[in-house]
């Protein structure tokens, strides 16, 4: 049985507005904090068509928002083929079965007392380097990070050197030209140099 489109939302919106006014929030932290319900025992009515509301979810625990867990999961790629990090995938693609499993694995390793690096290494051992969102900075992978900067600096350096050389050459030609064409009224040294260069190019 599917409800008609509008009525329930409107009633709930009105109820919710009243509830929100009764429970103004107090800033404490960014951790989820659930305020007590009006009746103390909030009834959660079953949905008419739960099969149409996506994959069933379990309640959010403190682990889901733990900055350590989120940080680790942001460095791990979900292996379902979505190209997203485990954190992004499990909080975006709610049909994916892989990222929730990887999330549970991270929590299990954390509970074993492993450090962040050890957890990442555990995943690398299982899936290979491809499980990391960015290549680790060692061996050949260093090229990934270094090459763009080196190329830009090298080309920029070469460009600066060539341009500076040409500019110096132009300046010296300007100086020489100002000697040769110094008697031409109203001609600056740069213009004299350009004129001389043109005359030479044309073989005059």
């Amino acid at each position: 049985m599917i409800y008609p489109r509008d009525t329930r939302i409107t009633r709930r919106a009105m109820l919710g507005a009243g509830l929100a006014a009764l429970f103004p929030g107090v800033a404490r932290s960014q951790q989820p904090e659930q305020a007590p319900n009006e009746s103390g025992q909030a009834p959660s009515a079953p949905l008419p068509r739960p099969d149409m509301a996506g994959r069933p979810r379990s309640r959010v625990t403190d682990y889901e928002n733990d900055p350590f867990v989120v940080g680790i999961e942001s460095e791990l790629r979900c292996t379902c083929g979505c190209n997203l990090s485990v954190y992004t995938c499990r909080t975006t693609d709610f049909t994916c079965q892989t990222s929730p499993a990887m999330h549970q694995h991270v929590i299990a390793l954390m509970e074993q007392g492993k450090t962040g690096e050890e957890i990442l290494q555990e995943f690398v051992a299982q899936y290979g380097e491809t499980v990391l969102m960015a290549p680790p900075k060692r061996g050949f992978n260093i090229a990934a990070y270094v090459v763009p900067g080196v190329v830009i600096i090298a080309v920029g350096g070469a460009l600066s050197w060539v341009l500076a050389r040409r500019a110096r050459l132009m300046a010296s030609q300007a100086a020489a030209a100002s000697n040769d064409l110094g008697d031409v009224p109203g001609l600056s040294s740069e213009e004299a140099a350009r004129l001389k260069a043109e005359l030479e190019r044309l073989g005059v």
């Binding site: 309640r59 499980v131 990070y145 341009l163």
Partner: protein
């Protein structure tokens, strides 16, 4: 309709071959009848491809499910607007769309290009026909949208739910328009090389095309960001996905071209570089398509893998070899007319701007292809995701932002110390003061702080330019300040429109910096329960779950979760609704996995982004993800400003000056050197007009 469509495609194939032949022959021999034929063939090609397009559209609108393409991408209950967008929603249709739009652009280029460039048009026609020919061949032999099924299904599969979004109706066409329109400047470059007419004439001919295609690309990319933001539900707009990167690459090289072309027009320098840049932009647009279609790189945006990738690879190789060969032949004609006179000049700053733009393009290409390189070299696959791209590209991007402020203020040829002091004293001071303030306020993110300081510097340089220009008009002509400003922009549209485009770019950078402060959390809430989240701006939001309702919509069953949001400073924010959508066909059978629709409350400071992840044990207890995204609205506003600047640049009447046209005229160089132009080329100039 499929017979008509196939017939039109075969006719297009024959016409395109004819167009290539007569275009090249006409350009080579200068025979007016061949030139005329090339022009008319371009129009005819456009006509037959329009017929093919109409045939596919008719099949889609008639729900002819015997056509494999129609059955794969539409269903009876799909809203009409998405039935139309299915035209380019699948591989085969998008290839036909590409060929069709390109043929329209090719015809437009023949039609609107002024007669003074007639000498280039045969080769332009031949080049565009050759590229249309490629797309027609791929459509006919590798991915034909008119292929029929051996049976007729009762209903189609429907369009992917993520494509059923207004953003996807406009984003792909815009991006395609950007990609496709680059072909026209490229065709002019080929024509200029083939005709040995490498003065600034061809640059004048493509000036508007390049700006238009750059604008289409910009709008297309931004609409893609908007679509990803509102539809994909991960709370961001750019993920450095290979396909996103592929669209960004030609944008970068086109931006470099728009700057470097000014140096050629003004000083006659960088002739080779400009040919390379425009060719690179076109090649990158084909390369991006190759990446999307070949499946060599994993991406969420990729089309189904097929043999199309091989066609694109072969075409790409052919193009690279052809352009390199033509460029090699014409190298002696591409010598600069002038030399750089000083390292402190606008030419030098534009060169470094080009270096950084192409450098970013290289680093993105390098990062995108590194997984393949790693596999080839080490036999090990690696993932190159957002952490890599952010780390490598943010510093280069900030360098580019700094040059956005520096370039326009430095004098051409050689800037004096006095000039530098006069131009930069105020903007540099404004930037430094901002940086000091942000440091004193313990601003949380280093790169975001640098971006904001540089943004202030660039905006100060632009405001100073407007103020000085308007002030000068006020003093000289006695106009009031508003009129002086309006006339200043109206009479120097290219320059001041360009500044407005720069303002748009600055707004983008500021908005990107805002995302450094993105805040998010998950919570499961029963109806009536609340949770709190602190904004990066200091206030606290209270999210109260109101409940979940389910109802049937056009082609889906919707589970809508509603949240009431209040702020401890601003009071009630409003009700936000996020949905789970289970799409069904006309028989009520589920067609795809359930999709998520984020609920977004957009504001100038930040967006409140709510995602309904699902329900606990099939009840109204809902799992949510709440995200606070600072300054996102400014990304879209930056695009609006940028487009406004672009429209000012494009506004009719701002064409090349008489002096500049005279420099580009045939014979101008010959007068100086004493070597008259060959008679045949002159004949083309006079004989090519319709």
């Amino acid at each position: 309709m499929t017979v008509l469509g196939n017939l039109a495609l075969w006719l297009a194939l024959i016409l395109a071959v004819w167009g290539v032949g007569v275009g090249f022959l006409g350009g080579r021999t200068g025979r007016p009848e061949l030139i005329q034929s090339a022009r008319r063939t371009t129009y005819a090609l456009c006509g037959v491809l329009v017929v093919a397009g109409v045939a596919l559209l008719t099949a889609l609108l008639r729900h002819d499910f015997n056509v494999a393409y129609v059955a794969s991408y539409t269903s009876r209950n799909l809203p009409t607007v998405y039935v139309i967008s299915a035209f380019y929603g699948g591989q085969a249709g998008s290839l036909l769309f590409w060929g069709l739009v390109l043929s329209v652009f090719a015809a437009l280029a023949q039609w609107v290009t002024p007669r003074r460039y007639n000498h280039l048009m045969p080769y332009v026609g031949a080049t565009t026909c050759a590229i249309v020919l490629f797309f027609v061949v791929v459509t006919l032999f590798a991915s034909n949208p008119f292929t029929r099924l051996p049976f007729t299904p009762m209903d189609g599969r429907g369009l992917n739910p993520q494509l059923q979004n207004p953003g996807m109706v406009v984003h792909p066409p815009m991006l395609y328009l950007g990609y496709i329109s680059i072909t026209i400047p490229f065709a002019f470059a080929v024509a200029a090389l083939a005709m040995k007419r490498l003065d600034t004439g061809w640059l004048h001919a493509i000036r508007k095309w390049t700006v238009v295609s750059w604008l289409f690309l910009t709008v297309g990319i931004t609409l893609g960001m908007w679509w990803a933001y509102v539809e994909l539900g991960w709370g961001g707009y750019w993920a450095w996905d290979p396909v996103e990167n592929a669209s960004f690459l030609p944008w970068l090289t086109m931006t470099a071209f728009l700057h470097s072309v000014m140096i050629q027009e003004k000083r006659g320098m960088l002739k080779k570089w400009n040919i390379i840049l425009i060719s690179m932009s076109f090649l990158l647009s084909i390369f991006g398509t190759f990446l999307t279609r070949s499946g060599i790189i994993s991406s969420v945006h990729s089309f189904t893998q097929s043999s199309v990738g091989y066609y694109f690879l072969a075409f790409l190789i052919l193009l690279v070899v052809g352009v390199a060969w033509l460029l090699w032949l014409r190298l002696p004609l591409l010598e600069a007319d002038a030399q750089l006179e000083s390292m402190v000049s606008r030419e030098a700053s534009f060169l470094f701007n080009n270096l950084l733009l192409v450098g970013i393009a290289f680093s993105i290409l390098w990062g995108t292809l590194f997984p393949i390189i790693s596999e080839l070299v080490r036999g090990t696959q690696v993932t190159v995701g957002p952490p890599f791209f952010n780390q490598v590209n943010i510093p280069i991007g900030l360098g580019l932002l700094a040059l956005t402020g520096v370039g326009p203020l430095i004098a051409w040829r050689k800037a004096s110390l006095k000039n530098l002091r006069r131009q930069f004293a105020v903007p540099v001071t404004a930037g430094i003061v901002t940086a000091a303030l942000l440091t004193a306020l313990r601003f949380g993110d280093f790169y975001a702080g640098v971006a904001l300081s540089l943004a202030v510097f660039v905006v100060a340089t632009i405001l100073q330019e407007f103020a000085r220009g308007a002030g000068a008009r006020h003093r000289l002509h006695g106009e009031n300040h508003v009129l002086a400003l309006a006339r200043l922009v109206g009479r120097n549209r290219r320059r001041y429109g360009g500044y407005i485009v720069h303002v748009g770019i600055v707004i983008y950078f500021v908005a990107f910096a805002g995302m450094a402060f993105k805040t998010e959390m998950e919570a499961s809430l029963k109806p009536g329960e609340s949770t709190l989240l602190k904004s990066p701006f200091g206030h606290v939001y209270t999210f109260t779950h109101l409940g979940v309702s389910q109802y049937r919509d056009v082609n889906r069953v919707v589970s809508a979760a509603t949240i009431d949001v209040t702020s401890d400073r601003g009071g009630r924010v409003g009700v936000i609704k996020s949905e789970k959508r289970q799409h069904v066909d006309s028989f009520g059978r589920p067609t795809f996995e359930p999709s998520t629709e984020a609920g977004i409350h957009s504001g100038l400071r930040e967006d409140i982004y709510v995602v309904y992840a699902g329900s606990v044990e099939g009840t109204e207890e809902a799992v949510y993800r709440f995200t606070l995204n600072p300054l996102v609205w400014w990304v879209w506003f930056g695009c609006v400003v940028l487009v406004a600047g672009g429209v000012i640049v494009l506004w009719p009447g701002g064409g090349p000056t008489r002096a500049s046209l005279r420099r580009a005229m045939p014979g101008y160089a010959a007068t100086l050197t004493g070597k008259p132009e060959p008679a045949s080329e002159t004949a083309v100039v006079t004989g090519g007009s319709p």
